[in-house]
Symmetry: D2
Subunit: 145 residues, 4 copies
């Protein structure tokens, strides 16, 4: 695992504040549980309001939490004056999103002045079992605010 050095010493507060502004995350009860240089964790509890037709969490919401995890992971390494937006991502779904809660981990692979490349994964947690349910590869961009 690579080690990154944030240029903005207040990156934790800045990232947590950005997350608090994502109303969707509040609406679905997602919590940001870890903020490290180039790595962010987001947890989502299961809710029957968020399912697809087989009763599992909808792929788009699994994507939402790992998109936010990757975006804020990129944001930990950006300048304090910048914002972050998603350019694009690709997600593979490996198993149905079945569990009590879901842990999304976003990690920076290559930071850049403009574009930052990230990997993300989502695990379903069912009691003691952890199962990988989704894999993301994403491009984030710094924007002037």
């Amino acid at each position: 695992m690579q080690q990154f050095e944030p240029v903005d010493q207040d990156y934790v507060a800045r990232v947590r504040y950005g997350f608090s502004l994502q109303n969707l995350m509040t609406t679905i009860d997602a919590r940001m549980t870890e903020v490290l240089p180039g790595e962010v964790h987001i947890e989502l509890p299961f809710s029957p309001k968020l399912t697809q037709q087989h009763g599992y969490i909808h792929a788009g919401l699994i994507t939402s939490i790992v998109d936010s995890a990757c975006g804020f992971a990129a944001y930990t390494l950006m300048l304090g004056s910048s914002g972050v937006l998603t350019v694009e991502y690709k997600v593979n779904f490996l198993s149905p999103a079945k569990g009590d809660k879901f842990l999304a981990v976003g990690r920076v692979i290559k930071p850049g002045r403009t574009l930052t490349i990230c990997n993300g994964e989502v695990s379903a947690i069912d009691g003691k079992d952890h199962k990988l349910v989704a894999l993301m590869q994403a491009t984030m961009t710094a924007v002037s605010t």
Copy 2:
């Protein structure tokens, strides 16, 4: 545009029923507005509960509606006895998801016995203006139910 011939004559009812089982779509007030052979439209009204940090709809929810549109577009051409799941997708975000409502269109490019390849797009509708905000390329799979 290709013409497809559904093998299941009841595909509209089957697709609309599948959509009605996606609790997430009900939770976010999304409606399925069009069901054609190999093509499905889904509309999402803007809601401040679904935003990211700049007040636009979260990329993951834009993804959710176009994932459902592509998945059900694939499902229109599948056997009546099958289910549909998302294998993977890739989404590019072209403009901020800013508007009164959002129209996701999913279209089958190549149907298959197991895998079906789809394209999807999401437009933001702001009064009379339509603006392309996202582009998807997706792989769906038929599953036994």
Copy 3:
């Protein structure tokens, strides 16, 4: 289909010159057959030197010609002083790349000052038959030269 207006009037010569510098394209006998605003065509003849294990053209070479088609399609709309690089792409393979020749078409979906989003497709041509073999969604970037 969208209409684009190149900012550089010499875009055809610039694009054809850029293509002529891609030694790989010469090595595999690929030809640029069409250069339009936001759209480029590249043709590849079948060669047994370029195959994968079943005797069809290797997926990576199908990718190579549609990557070049998309990159140069983006380049038609860029400033005369810029260069173009591939940020990322995603490709679905729909059928085996079996045919006498292969036609890659790259089209700009959304041009941008820095990032340009493109769609590409590759058809296999076998006598009179045309068959879609690959579908690309790509992000290109302008670079200073």
Copy 4:
């Protein structure tokens, strides 16, 4: 890193034989340097015949070697009677492919009876320097032969 147990004891010979049938790999002087359960390495020496317009290896060829690495990594875990094909992949390009040689590593993330999900990466090796140039996320499929 996960540990995988091949079902076919002759997987090394089978994978190396499959690679030897990929004429493209011979044409570009690529060598398969490592075959492990769920992991394959392929090396490509620099050649001026394989470049894009700036003199670096063409993105499509970087893709070719990591596609083969991922495909054969998936193939190590498949039945002896099966073949392997690429369903789709997504590649991010992190740095120009500049170096004396290029090492592609493909790794299985989740094997499956039909679909196998892989990650791949390509490093440029320039004397003692190793630099990550590309990142792949891919879906491979087993086919009957």
